[in-house]
Symmetry: C2
Subunit: 295 residues, 2 copies
């Protein structure tokens, strides 16, 4: 990272954002941080970061602004809202949005920022909190090659696999694909293990055997043992997958895309939320099936 882009702001200090912020601070970067609740900023301020009063304030002296918040609305608010980054950042600043949001909204936000001379890259990630902590995230980038070249040294502090997927929104489109494949896979694992148990075969053995053949996957290795051992704690908070599937289904509707398994898994995730398991793991898709079996 050249000295011209060493000043960094980080907005959104949830589990993922906090881990990324720590990695940037450990790499020696000067950080300003912003979170809605002041107490969330305390540990970072204690370690030398500047606690900001608003996203605009956080962005005031930054070369690169990272955002990692939950919803499309949240991203619009922190970037374009009354106290948003657009009102504090200097022209030439690059915004890296690590959130998982709508690709269409991303393109629209990028255009509005560019009108103020601010560049945007969509940079959603895969790899979870563990990947964020270990700086082994996969980062899916949409936007201009030139801007990615400028922030790549920073992104390399956060993840081990950086993919430039195309222009604005392409990172979000790829993240959508990632969630689609990942959670439909989890649903398949849940159905298989429901079947195994109903037929008296040990679920841990099934996971072990399947991991050696054509059914093997990262999710089978992670979620299979959790389901087999009935460990339903997060892990990956199911509410985030449910939010993502809402986005995907909306886009599929807008574009007239038949995505029947995606729609089905969205329904299963909605049921999961109704049971109150949203802050638990997506392995709870197995418990949704168990409830449907009782009904």
């Amino acid at each position: 990272m050249t000295s011209s882009v060493s000043k960094v702001a980080f907005i959104g200090l949830g589990a993922m954002g906090a881990a990324m912020t720590r990695n940037l601070m450990n790499a020696g970067h000067s950080l300003s941080v912003y979170a809605r609740r002041a107490e969330v900023m305390q540990p970072f301020a204690g370690a030398g970061a500047r606690a900001s009063t608003s996203p605009a304030d956080a962005a005031r002296d930054a070369d690169v602004v990272f955002t990692n918040v939950t919803s499309t609305h949240d991203v619009e608010e922190v970037l374009l809202g009354p106290n948003g980054v657009i009102h504090g950042a200097r022209p030439g600043t690059i915004v890296c949005d690590m959130s998982t949001i709508s690709a269409d909204a991303t393109r629209s936000i990028a255009a509005k920022l560019l009108a103020a001379g601010i560049h945007m890259l969509d940079c959603p990630v895969s790899g979870g909190v563990k990947g964020a902590e270990a700086a082994t995230l996969t980062i899916l980038v949409g936007g201009k090659t030139e801007q990615l070249a400028r922030v790549r040294p920073l992104l390399q502090k956060l993840g081990s696999n950086i993919f430039h997927m195309g222009d604005h929104g392409a990172g979000q489109v790829t993240k959508t694909c990632n969630q689609t494949v990942q959670v439909i896979n989890i649903q398949g694992i849940a159905e298989a293990l429901l079947f195994a148990r109903a037929n008296g075969v040990d679920c841990n053995k099934v996971v072990e055997a399947l991991m050696s053949g054509f059914a093997s996957s990262k999710m089978l290795g992670l979620m299979g043992p959790k389901m087999a051992n009935r460990d339903f704690a997060a892990g990956i908070e199911a509410r985030l997958h449910q939010k993502d599937f809402g986005l995907i289904v909306d886009m599929a509707d807008d574009q007239g895309l038949p995505m029947p398994a995606t729609r089905l898994v969205h329904e299963q995730l909605n049921e999961l939320m109704e049971h109150g398991w949203g802050k638990m793991d997506t392995s709870n898709l197995l418990r949704v099936l168990e409830e449907q079996q009782k009904a």
Copy 2:
């Protein structure tokens, strides 16, 4: 393998069975073979195997009889039918059924064979024709420990991962789980790549990026590039997956198991068959979506 079990019969010389038979012959075993069409046996007879006139004839001097045929009915026919193995095999013979069939039927067949002093192991496999040729199959075994110990040296000539899943039928239950996870995963990959293309992102890049994150799987590595490059040739003949999903849905119905994604993928596979793509690859699930998009 002790000399007392070195005589082997192989019944069913399709792509998988033929590859396994060659591996057993290459390992120096004395083989008798049986296939419905005599010409299929010619290359094996030319290499020193005994071409048989019926399953009973193939089993006459065998210590271990392998069967690898398509349907539950086929297995019943070659084992219990008028010219079936049960009428030729000596007491103490072990039947290893490598076919993918109903777990319930397997338990019933095993009981009938045992009444004639013949032991059975269900040994369905995962790994495809390539795995059969390279002897790297995963073999999912159901039946008695003692019989598995006797045939294990033979199975090690066919596969690299042998899992004893439980008593009769447990191998088939595990294979069902394998197919459920594998093909639901393929459906998810198809939906994701349909979405990527509709949104202007390069499908090969998406596969590459997803392979580094939580969405990675054996099937994404195999089927993703095939779909991205529109290579729909088998590979894995979709008709076999469609057959397997018929079995799974039947068992789910009998047992009152909610397996909604399994049922949905069964419908997609049925449409694939209606398009006449059954002898092509299961990557054609993408083309089923494309047809649904046109409709």
